[in-house]
């Protein structure tokens, strides 16, 4: 990665330079004053950069070289499913029939797009084991908001005003944040000694004021909760709804379905399990699948299919249905992140049923193998698994013994990994594991990569045993070294001064 001196695009260029040339002024040249009164117009132009195209290209290509990326190295960021992004998906998404299609094009001229959406909906419904899908939400957290608002609408339609939503203490931060945004009170449920939901605590807290339980299964500890049927029964018995956070779906595709586990609402992260590229922090896409009971409240519009199946020779036609009186309404503009739908649909077409199952089997195999390698190399003596169980697609280690015995923290270990050419795992999450390290290798990594990574972790620990200062001062070989985050928050500089 490049260690160039840093100048922003605003600190480059010269007055008068430009990359853009306006198309010819072919309509009558009228005074702007005549069209828009001066008092409504801006007096000074926005101080945007003035650069030529070569300067523009060089600047951003150089910036790109100051990023680590999945295409160049192992990225075992737990809970994020950093799997390979096939380039085929970029190619098909860029076809003008998809990429230059206006979202308000009449359905009769967008049947190809609506077919993509329909087929994706059907595939996701099958994977979830729930019959109805809305592709609208823009990301996982948006899907969560949809889910909790659906829960609210479901209860309201029964004349009930429930106030609480249960979330385990292992939950992603988006769960409790969503609950508050949707106007509910968060009630935390504890974790038992095996890493699952504490059933006694759940029974104690599940009452008729509970609207919903939000759960990830496998959970954020990378463990499948085998009590899920009992959990579902406890929540359903008090009239609550069961919400499945699909962040960890990559472990169970084609193996076990949230709908069969008892969940009523599921969200998917197309940028995780279905390989929409993460883009440096989006775009994502967070479709939801729901049961019959929840279906009337789905966001508008709902995609519908007509014709074809009656055997009367009529052609299949897809439409968007806005006439949904019980709908919670829209969560965003238009139909959702269609570009992501194209990519994820292409992925499902490539893999098929058997391939999807292979994905999950391999993801779980890779995670358990990596854990076994770390064990074999003695790493787990200093970084023991938080729970001694077979893991699913990811696992959590605790750096507490390492901190005590070697005097380096999980953060130091992570920073030293940067010098070894790896993106570190997720650190300090889940919160209930001290000095946590959440490792998700994904199915697209080779056994050799896993072996090399395990060896690198072992080497860092060996090195730290001799000289912990090395890890404490890491990284060294990166474009910048440790940054002063406290200063950044204390005196925020959030834009280039001009």
């Amino acid at each position: 990665m490049s260690a160039d001196t840093v100048r922003t695009i605003f600190e480059q260029g010269r007055p008068g330079r430009r990359a853009f040339e306006a198309p010819p002024a072919d309509v009558p040249e009228r005074s702007i004053d005549e069209l828009i009164p001066p008092r409504l117009r801006r007096r000074e132009p926005a101080r945007l950069p003035e650069v030529s195209e070569p300067e523009l290209v060089r600047h951003y290509v150089r910036l790109s070289r100051r990023n680590f990326d999945l295409d160049s190295g192992f990225y075992p960021l737990g809970s994020c499913t950093m799997k390979h992004n096939p380039r085929l998906h970029e190619r098909v998404a860029a076809l003008p029939g998809h990429s230059r299609l206006h979202p308000l094009t009449d359905h009769s001229r967008a049947q190809g797009a609506l077919t993509v959406m329909w087929n994706l909906e059907r595939a996701l419904a099958e994977i979830a084991g729930l019959p109805h899908v809305s592709l609208q939400p823009s990301a996982g957290s948006h899907g969560e908001l949809a889910g909790v608002l659906l829960t609210r609408a479901y209860h309201a339609d029964r004349g009930e005003q429930r106030r609480k939503v249960l979330t385990p203490d292992t939950a992603h931060g988006t769960n409790p944040a969503t609950v508050t945004m949707a106007g509910y009170e968060v009630v935390k449920v504890g974790t038992d000694e095996r890493g699952g939901v504490d059933l006694d605590d759940l029974r104690a807290k599940a009452d008729s004021d509970v609207a919903c339980l939000m759960l990830t299964n496998p959970n954020t500890l990378g463990l499948f909760d085998p009590n899920i049927a009992q959990i579902a029964a406890i929540v359903h018995n008090v009239g609550g709804v069961l919400y499945y956070d699909g962040a960890n779906l990559n472990a169970v595709m084609g193996i076990s379905r949230p709908g069969d586990m008892g969940f009523d609402i599921v969200h998917f992260n197309l940028h995780k399990s279905f390989t929409q590229p993460h883009g440096g922090g989006g775009p994502g896409s967070g479709p939801i699948a729901v049961s019959d009971a929840i279906e009337p409240y789905l966001p508008r519009p709902v995609l519908t299919r007509h014709g074809g199946s009656e055997g009367n020779g009529s052609a299949v036609e897809f439409e968007l249905d806005y006439d949904r009186p019980k709908s919670i309404g829209r969560l965003r503009g238009f139909q959702g992140n269609y570009g992501c739908f194209v990519r994820s649909y292409a992925y499902i077409c490539s893999l098929g049923a058997a391939g999807l199952r292979d994905v999950s089997e391999t993801a779980v195999l890779n995670a358990n193998y990596l854990l076994a390698r770390l064990r074999a190399l003695g790493v787990t003596e200093l970084l023991p698994p938080a729970y001694e169980r077979i893991c699913m697609h990811e696992f959590v280690l605790s750096g507490a013994p390492m901190k005590q015995q070697l005097g380096i923290r999980t953060l130091d270990l992570a920073k030293r990994m940067l010098d070894f050419g790896y993106h570190p795992p997720t650190v300090y999450f889940p919160l209930l594991v001290e000095e946590a390290l959440l490792i998700e290798p994904t199915e697209t990594e080779t056994r050799e990569t896993l072996d090399e990574f395990a060896a690198a972790v072992a080497a860092i620990l060996t090195e730290a045993r001799e000289d912990p200062e090395i890890a404490r001062g890491a990284p060294y070989d990166t474009p910048v070294r440790r940054l002063d985050e406290a200063a950044a928050a204390k005196n925020p500089v959030l834009r280039q001064a001009l």
Binding site: L88, R100, R152
Partner: protein
């Protein structure tokens, strides 16, 4: 093994042995047998890369995109020209494939892009601070509503009917969770009715929402509307079209608290509605209640300039139920397109483009106004889009006119009837820099014939009835 996985039979054997289990099935032993799927998923078998390409190509061919017709559709997303440098940069692995920059030492590229993006958005909107993007336009409006709820907790929102219908609906959806009611203020003469606005204001109004220009394309006089709202202590939220801000007074100097908007028009594809990005900028006093990622400048241990995600104590992964938003993944790649686009346009190019659009829109409004029966819905100043009445009396007639135009490979615009029953035969027409004078003349010709044909058909139908 698929083409995206690499575990051979011998790998699998060795790996299972290392784990200490006999089979893959054993790895799933924690899943109770009754919860395991005992049949294959009902999804077609996998295909090779070439076959998948062909399938998606054939589906693309069943869409009528702006590549094949002359399109005047806008209504929030626009068929602008996207410079080739954007395709190249967004396709680079280093921007396309990493995630949120949790490890700043190896994410300086992405973080600096966010910092530059925030700078560009602040310049464009005239606001003090910007985050690094939210999902898209309408949900950005709703997120501003949450900021207002956290700020003053008042029970009412006032919304101009000039705000995008999708944004109004999204705000309503979110507001059920906030426990806030949403009241709409009608338009008068194409812009927000100032009298009704003042009358509806009160000490219980938490925030007011306006669009600039509004959905009918009209430039709003924001300043007096904002001043009235602020007098009552309400937060002022403006959803602005970023290209129009190349020519219009920035909301930051009009007494606006939060300026949000849809970023698609800044170098992002139509993509049938997404992904694009939403921008979210505010006055400094709202900084600690803003949603989403924010990049800040700092130094490393060697004193080198660098960037980090900052003010994270606002965010869900730290604050959990007390977070200022639940947003995690946003639209970093699309925001990159936005800042590259603004840099490509540059300081001089942006106003040039905005002026070109204003002139073409004015030309088109006059050209369509000359069609018999067609009249502008309002006479307000416009920047890139305008609304006309087709003089047909009902929404069904507009649909038939649009269908007739489609036969001549013209998309004349968006029918307003569904969202605005008060304008049943309204048509919203957008220009872009890709629509030449010749295209506009062609539109006037085709639309004129389609409207005339519809009137004739109506008259004939009327006689038959």
């Amino acid at each position: 093994m698929t083409r995206y996985t690499a575990v051979t039979d011998s790998d699998r054997e060795a790996m299972l042995e290392a784990i200490g289990v006999a089979s893959i099935d054993e790895l799933f032993a924690e899943i109770p047998p009754e919860l395991r799927l005992t049949r294959p998923l009902d999804i077609p078998a996998g295909l090779g890369e070439a076959e998948v390409y062909e399938h998606l190509r054939s589906l693309a061919a069943r869409n009528t995109s702006a590549e094949e017709v002359i399109s005047f559709l806008g209504a929030g997303m626009y068929d602008g020209y996207i410079p080739a440098v954007i395709d190249m940069l967004l396709g680079r692995s280093e921007f396309l494939t990493p995630y949120t920059p949790y490890q700043p030492e190896i994410s300086q590229g992405g973080l600096q892009v966010m910092f530059e993006y925030q700078t560009a958005i602040c310049e464009l909107t005239g606001m003090d601070v910007s985050n690094a993007s939210v999902y898209e336009g309408p949900s950005a409006v709703a997120s501003a509503g949450y900021l207002a709820k956290l700020t003053n907790g008042r029970p009412r929102f006032l919304v101009s009917r000039g705000l995008h219908p999708h944004a109004r609906e999204t705000l309503r959806t979110y507001s059920v969770g906030f426990g806030t009611s949403v009241e709409e203020i009608a338009l008068r003469g194409g812009v927000t009715d100032a009298e009704a606005w003042e009358k509806a204001l009160g000490e219980d109004v938490g925030a007011v929402f306006l669009a600039q220009p509004n959905f009918l394309g009209a430039v709003e006089d924001i300043e007096p509307l904002a001043a009235a709202a602020r007098e009552h202590g309400a937060l002022v939220v403006v959803s602005a079209d970023p290209l129009s801000l190349g020519i219009l007074e920035p909301p930051g100097s009009q007494g606006v608290d939060v300026c949000v908007g849809e970023g698609q028009t800044l170098g992002n594809r139509l993509d049938f509605g997404g992904p694009s990005f939403g921008f979210f900028a505010a006055r400094e006093e709202h900084l600690r209640r803003m949603p989403g990622r924010i990049a800040g400048e700092t130094r490393d241990v060697d004193g080198r300039r660098g960037f980090v995600l900052t003010l994270q104590t606002r965010e869900q992964h730290i604050r959990r139920e007390k977070a200022t938003s639940n947003i995690c993944t946003a639209q970093a790649l699309n925001a990159l397109a936005g800042v590259v686009y603004l840099s490509w346009l540059g300081r001089r190019g942006l106003p040039e483009l905005a002026e070109l659009l204003a002139r073409r829109a004015a030309y088109a409004r006059e050209a369509l106004g000359a069609i018999e029966g067609v009249t502008p819905l309002h006479e307000q100043p416009i920047t890139r889009e305008f609304a006309v009445s087709l003089g047909l009396g009902d929404a069904a007639g507009v649909q038939r006119v649009i269908a007739r135009c489609a036969g001549d490979r013209i998309e004349p615009g968006y029918a307003l009837g569904r969202d605005y029953p008060e304008y049943p035969d309204g048509l919203l027409v957008a220009v872009s820099e890709r629509r030449s004078r010749e295209d506009i003349d062609h539109l006037a010709d085709v639309l004129g014939r389609a409207v005339a044909a519809e009137r004739t058909a109506n008259a004939t139908g009327g006689m038959q009835a």
